[in-house]
Point group: D4
Chain length 251, copies 8
């Protein structure tokens, strides 16, 4: 069922199918777990279930929200879960699976095929250096969670152009490119001059000195003289995957 | 004709159709005007002709590049052209047209229908306040230049949610939304929670105090807790239009 | 009439007094002037008519919005209007009045007593130095526009404590204190230790060197070790007056 | 007894009731514990006893100041006390109570009813996400300590407007709203457009990337285009409660 | 006459020589010119008459304050007065003298010998480059205004150590050294290793690129590994002279 | 013996008392310990022996340098020595004494009376809050090490002016005041308006939120509108003591 | 004649060829023009005559220093001279030549062949965009002034790699490469991966939004993941030429 | 063998010695270890084998890459390897050697003489203080790894000029100087005025307060008024060595 629009709800009230009191309730589709209010209708409105941001939450809270969503028949994913937190959460929810490189913890109802591709159109995730791998894998794995087909190309930074050029064919036929880079973050500028797909640039916090925790590659990407680059927050692989999904997904 | 790939050129060399000297030349498709080297093959490689960034160039340089491209049969557009510079350039190139609000100067070969829609899929450009109009119009007008269909919704900032909600239908069926906002830049966060299209957020330099020339809304947009927002540089309406084109254009 | 709540509107639909189509319309109380969408219901919802931020708007736009509101029976005020812009706007709207120190332009329907006190409870506006006067007067005059009673104390900075202490009686019986200061911005810290009223601190851009355009006193005020200080943006005298009104006004 | 004004003291000297030496002493109402000088008259002057800022103090110092104040007949509160520090302080002062979420340690004289409401007028504390809870609880609990009535609404961030709108009734009849938010900090802007009460905005350090330890939502809140928002320091729930008390308290 | 202490005033009240009302008045020694409140007792309390900060004041205000002070028998000095402002002020107060390099405007009562040395102990003012001259002269000339003996050494930057070493004798017998430098601001570090006098370092806004308007030499001076350097605000020659006076002046 | 000037050395060469080779050596008065080159003549040139900056040095290096200096007949002091490092260094050099609050480690030759006052003129060290104590004690204790007489006044911050005013007599007769403050750092501004001595302001890293590790009070102190304040680096109590010594010491 | 070392001077004193008084003078080889002290021996010590930094100097000062140096038989160059200032200086010194693009003003003694190559080893100066030309020409022209052979390659930015690759041969046989770039500044990273010469990177202030006046490309260049890049200040073409000269010049 | 140029490869294709398929392969000289793609031709192209940046890599990855390169006959070096990581990597690759001060881990094929000088021309590495040693040793040791002759001069900071001047002879005959400094970073400015060699300045993160993790000396070095200084990233001793090698190495 598509989400009910306000006009639809008003018409139901008019024809007596809904009382005003119930209609007001429909505008409040929220489950309250005490420590969190879960927006149960967001999937209907925006097309994707709520993904849980794991930082700043206790293992108990993460396990509780995952369990609530799975028991409601939805697969559920938590990002930025440290190994320690994951172990504590899995003690409470043994059915959950932890992937340490992208730091993801997930659970799904019986019979649900998580990570199965459901969308046409390949997303290519590329990264500049070995140290960017956790963010790049977060992007790639979240994109797969959302049903996208993903091609990976790791360690193709601009200081050795040949490494990048050797992967050019894969880049050329992608629907979207997610380019993950730390250090000076020049990768998206160079790629955007070579292909036609939109580039989602993800700066990482990998670097030192005046890298400023990722601020330097962020500025590089925003100031890019190349066409077709937009940017998400530092280390935000998940956010990049979500933007990619919005670009590709059928509505 | 699609752009020649390196492999294609190598095969032409192998079968004797190209000399090595000519083949090397094909990797150098650049016209040198003295003050600028024009990348004549970029259209072939990336799908769009080079657009001229008007700041830091003299009127003579702008008129010269426009003329070179038009005489080569391409429509040509210059952004960030001040009224004074536009007047001086038009004295040299009377066929050029200036649009003062988005500060665009353009010229096209005889018979070319500039701004005609050539792509399916509507782009919705929204803005937070009256002062953001020049940037929002740059985004809208550049998108039209690239052949996209554009719907505008001005002055729908978050301090009066009703103004935004009254335009929700237009937002819901857009392929891409470009959200332009100065001040605190909260518009993309709110919109992203209401619709499914990808949001390209454009911070503007309109504000005062700790607005920091647009840095404040830029941070707001990058830190957005809402899904599906990516960001371009401050006041970069042109860049947003280009990302939108890459998302929508058929390849 | 108090603003209609959603529940109230829904009940009107239920009893047939409103059609769904009209009800939807009630959620969209906006007048569109082309360059601006005026939120006509904001007065009803929040208790104050929209005040126009003059920067980034043309004299024509300012005069147009003022005229629209006055002709709708509301007094109307524009802030941050330069003398040049004010002159141009008054050429279009001769009934408007300009006050150069606080840079305010206002107009009111026939017979309306602008600036008349309508609220109980005195607001005390104090400032650190002569150069802070324009911001301090913007705060004081806007507060009077909103119907508040205002007491002014200029040039009472902390480098000469006696100047401040000599005004202590006026500070002690204020409902709210607006403390405006540039340079190092220590005034609110000292005042907050002497009186019980809430302090709204306004940093100004007056200073030099590492004053950073007002960032230094802003930090001082946010880091204040004294109790009861909250802060608005640099040079935002209008904003401070509005916060004061919300504190004092009867509902 | 109300605090003696300087004029009152001078008159007592004039009529011989006070010697000059004693009069000078009355201007020095400070108890010296060696490591801290306690301002015993601040309650009389400003209406609230001194609250102890727990960071940078040893458990011995915290326990010592609490004990001094309680033995002088005053209830006493320390903020920002870590669990480890609280345990050490309670070993020295077993009558103290620790609340771990808001990180508060308090003690009160026999028979004192701590946290009992003594002021009319409800304060509504709202927060954007689960991770903001510690700061939001510090604000709520301190407000209760000061005798205010508090209503809480957790996890009502702007990315899911329905969650916020479902709590609108509670917001509408509050005397003051304390809005706590991390990430991009857009919550106060949206709330201020919906209600008439003054909004005290509290940015939190919850976020990542260019969140800059809370600087990003701080800027958002200061730059808010909405009326009636003032701001306190990052994570300063205590400060927000104190401003709320100054707004509401009878004098 | 030395300034009356509070204890002295209280004793006068006790013995009937002062009424309480007059005693309160003695704590309020302020002349109100409308746009400024002049602290007439500051000279008595701190040893120096108020100097007027010229920026952000109108020529009328500057001339008015100078005139007030001179007519009260005090010499008076205004700093940071642009040539245009000085001309306008001198039209109102023809007896005033303008010095364009240090941008000072001053006036003195008949018969007053301005700039005459009244203190023992030489102050040496040194500067790194020609462009730092206005700030260095402001420091030197203000020091002379305060009655100090001044020795100047211009253009002795660290990139040519010989220039500095050739002035070493003058530096060695100074009571205080004021070191003015833009660019990278290394001068105070080098000088402090060569002599025993305290160094007051003044960063200037002369430089470019990441000079950040003087922030770079300011940081250099604060981070100095050399002993005995303290720092004033960027371009604050006046402030340095005042610190020097406090160091040298007899009390 | 006073340090030999270059001219003196040249004259010794002229009269044959020195060979050129030895004269060159006299310009190189450095002991090389491998990990450090000790400037043995600095005491002669600048009047104070080298004090060791303990951070970034190993316990072995600290103990080695202390031992080298003591065995050469000089008392020696190391600053910023953590308790762990001090314990390790004292295991190597049992004669050394550690003071934990100011984090100082020192050693002296047999019979040397460390900390004995040798200079006339009192230094007053004041601090804003209990958390500033370690920096304030570093300043006070280092000043005593240099032979200065010190008066301390702790916890006299500006939010309770009475605490500061009660110590005014001590401040009035000081030769120099060292004012240590974290939070918003307003203490030096207020003190400078009350007394005539030069103020050396020391910002501390105590604070939170936009305190920025002490940058906020540093800016406050540099921007001070009060006369006679100069500033040293954040937490640099040692540096303040050294500036005070240069001001007071007889030459 | 090579510059006299201190040891050489001392030996001259020993053998009676120099008096101490004269020897001291030899350490002070400075001409004092009043507003500037010219380091006449710097050429001897460092191999290049002093070049005049034109900003912050008056036309009179620039012309005066040029004239002093030329009359002493040296060619002389002033950088960063605006057209207005150049015209005023040339009115005083008609023999001077002005070059407007690199903003250089120079003069030479009769018969001196300015800009003639005197060093072996080519310097290649490359730039990213047309707007970077003034800085790139300052670098190229200053290098020629110092006697270096220069090859220029303009407008070879990374968004069109073919433009850069077409100039690869020229880059490969350069002794030094000066890479000038604004926007995101990725050019040095890419070039350093292709050739073996050292790269001197020059960020320019050309860009907008979060370009921060050139800070963004500066960070990019400092954070470069490619080998062999060192960086000079923003817009410092002169400085890059000087570093190149030091690398190439025979000693 | 020198690296094959594209033109060379094309000619081989033309004369039938290479198939197009193989020619394309030659542009892709990359070994893929899964977690890293090793650019095997970089040595040929740029003259130096790839050095491994150890941060952000696991011990397994470091050991794996070292082993791959050594088994291919190349000596191999990893930088920024902590002692813990080095121990873990050496457990996997016992032939590797760890040097703790510069934090380097290296391995070489049998019979390879690592660190043997192969280039003419001395590099002088100087440092300001003991705490800068790790960075200075990284620079010195990497330069030796690249075959350069190195002279070290530690602890020659500008606060004691004699220490620096005593090493002047060694500086004067160096081909390149690497100047490493924390605190205020003034060392390169002073050295550049004394000698003719190019200075590569390396700021370090050693300092406190507004040192900003090395940003302060970085700014100092970029803003240097002295000629011939270029700068690398904070703590980047390796990068400085590489620039030095590019300057000195024969091609």
């Amino acid at each position: 069922m598509s989400p009910a629009t306000p006009l639809h709800i008003l018409r139901e009230v008019q024809r007596g199918a809904l009382t005003p009191e119930a209609a007001v309730g429909l505008l409040r589709p929220v489950t309250d777990l005490g420590y969190a209010r879960i927006d149960d209708h967001r999937a209907a409105r925006t097309g994707l279930a709520e993904v849980i941001y794991g930082e700043g939450k206790t293992p108990e809270q993460i396990a509780g929200i995952l369990e609530h969503l799975v028991s409601a028949g939805q697969p559920a994913l938590a990002t930025r879960v440290s190994p320690e937190k994951a172990a504590a959460a899995r003690a409470l929810l043994p059915g959950a699976t932890y992937e340490p490189v992208p730091r993801l913890l997930w659970a799904a109802p019986e019979g649900h095929r998580a990570f199965a591709p459901t969308q046409e159109g390949k997303v290519c995730v590329i990264s500049g250096g070995t140290a960017d791998l956790p963010v790049a894998e977060e992007a790639a794995r979240c994109a797969e969670w959302f049903g996208l087909e993903v091609e990976r190309a790791w360690d193709v930074g601009v200081s050795g152009l040949h490494r990048l050029l050797s992967r050019l064919d894969g880049l050329t036929d992608a629907r979207v490119i997610i380019a993950v880079a730390g250090m000076e973050g020049a990768l998206p500028s160079v790629v955007a001059g070579l292909v036609r797909a939109p580039i989602i640039a993800v700066p990482t916090s990998q670097g030192y000195g005046v890298h400023l925790g990722g601020l330097a590659p962020l500025l590089t990407m925003l100031d890019s003289c190349a066409a077709g680059v937009s940017v998400v927050n530092i280390d935000n692989g998940f956010g990049a995957a979500l933007v990619a999904w919005r670009m590709v997904a059928r509505r």
